[in-house]
């Protein structure tokens, strides 16, 4: 490929080459049709998947896994013949070889995103839990999305059983308004009677007592 053609390819990619010159270039180098088509497909795929607005859960972990996979790919030594072929192609189509080199990385990124979404069971729609933390290291939080139930489930495993003899009761409450420092709250029944008092102490610990039954 002569330097003039290389220059024209650059202009074509930048969108500054005239239609006549594009036609002439493609007639001279018909193999560019396929390269262009591949780069356009890759661009569309990246835009679709990476601009979807989906939050990646645990981004540090995701980036770490992605980096690890890329390093693993790099560690695999390509054959000498492939090296020679790539070197020749790079000398002919330097800009397109960039896309070729980026393609596996982009594919890895897209696959990695799918894996991350599947691994953390983050639903595409519906409510979701983006991240969890259990202050007690003996506890484990498991998250999954149930398609059938249309619900996100957070299971806390490792909690001590509540003794059977302990009575667990609930209330029917309809709301409260916080006071000045949100430290004293009174919950009301559906009949507008105060039923629970919640006090938050200086250590942010809630104290709840029943006011009426």
């Amino acid at each position: 490929m002569n330097p003039q053609d290389e220059e024209r390819i650059t202009q074509w990619i930048d969108g500054t080459l005239s239609d006549t010159d594009v036609q002439d270039l493609l007639e001279t180098h018909p193999e560019l049709h396929e390269a262009k088509s591949q780069s356009e497909s890759l661009g569309k795929l990246l835009r679709k998947e990476l601009d979807s607005g989906e939050q990646i859960p645990y981004p540090d972990f995701f980036n770490h896994q992605l980096k690890k996979r890329i390093e693993e790919e790099d560690a695999e030594s390509p054959s000498a013949a492939a090296d020679q072929k790539d070197a020749l192609a790079e000398s002919m189509f330097p800009r397109f070889m960039f896309f070729k080199k980026m393609a596996p990385l982009a594919a890895l990124a897209v696959i990695g995103l799918f894996i991350a979404l599947l691994f953390f069971n983050v639903p595409v729609g519906g409510s979701k839990i983006v991240s969890t933390y259990t202050p007690n290291p003996a506890l484990e939080a498991k998250i999954f999305y149930s398609d059938e139930a249309g619900a996100t489930v957070l299971l806390i495993e490792g909690l001590a059983d509540i003794p059977a003899q302990q009575n667990i009761t609930g209330v029917q409450a309809v709301g409260y308004a916080p006071d000045a420092d949100a430290s004293h709250l009174t919950l009301y029944s559906t009949q507008n009677k105060p039923i629970l008092a919640l006090t938050v102490d200086r250590k942010a610990q809630p104290r709840i007592r029943k006011l009426s039954f």
Binding site: S127, P135, A149, L154, L159, G175, A180, L187
Partner: protein
């Protein structure tokens, strides 16, 4: 600093003058959403001497118990308590269907799809059992599986109240 103090005092006065929302809903702080929280006992269907449940007026519960059955099969679901609460914009909000198991919610506002972004703490008596950053979408509940009790498990359900799914 002085200006900040004046603003703080002024804000405090406003809030102190505000009675409970039920008494005067107009004076309640700004709310990002209403959340329905329920404490449900997922019991062994063969269990006798079941605890007394509450009689709910929430139409959501029939639908919720069906959905719970998809996640926790072979269980019967008893509503022990429920609490519908405004989730305030600048205050922590407590959803307390029971004094034993309840949630603290801090609103992070709505996203572009009108879902509620929140930070949730799941409490068991005096302990924070789990913290979570979550997104609540209308019509799609969160089921938080808590401790086992008797022959079943206690579950906290959190759902956007009074909003239809998109």
């Amino acid at each position: 600093m002085r200006r900040l103090s004046i603003i703080t005092i002024f804000a405090s006065l406003i809030v102190q003058l505000a009675p409970a929302q039920n008494a005067n809903p107009n004076s309640a702080p700004a709310s990002d959403a209403k959340v329905w929280g329920a404490l449900v006992y997922a019991a062994d269907p063969t269990e006798s001497n079941l605890p007394e449940g509450v009689t709910t007026t929430a139409v959501a519960f029939e639908d919720i118990s069906t959905r719970l059955g998809k996640v926790f099969p072979d269980r019967q679901f008893i509503l022990l308590g429920e609490h519908t609460q405004d989730i305030f914009r600048e205050y922590e909000s407590w959803v307390v269907p029971s004094k034993h198991l309840f949630a603290k919610i801090d609103s992070k506002g709505r996203d572009a799809e009108d879902r509620l972004l929140l930070h949730l703490q799941f409490w068991h008596d005096q302990d924070v059992v789990a913290k979570a950053d979550a997104v609540l979408e209308a019509g799609s509940p969160l089921f938080i599986g808590g401790p086992k009790w008797r022959n079943g498990r206690l579950i906290l359900v959190v759902l956007l109240a009074g909003e239809k799914s998109a």
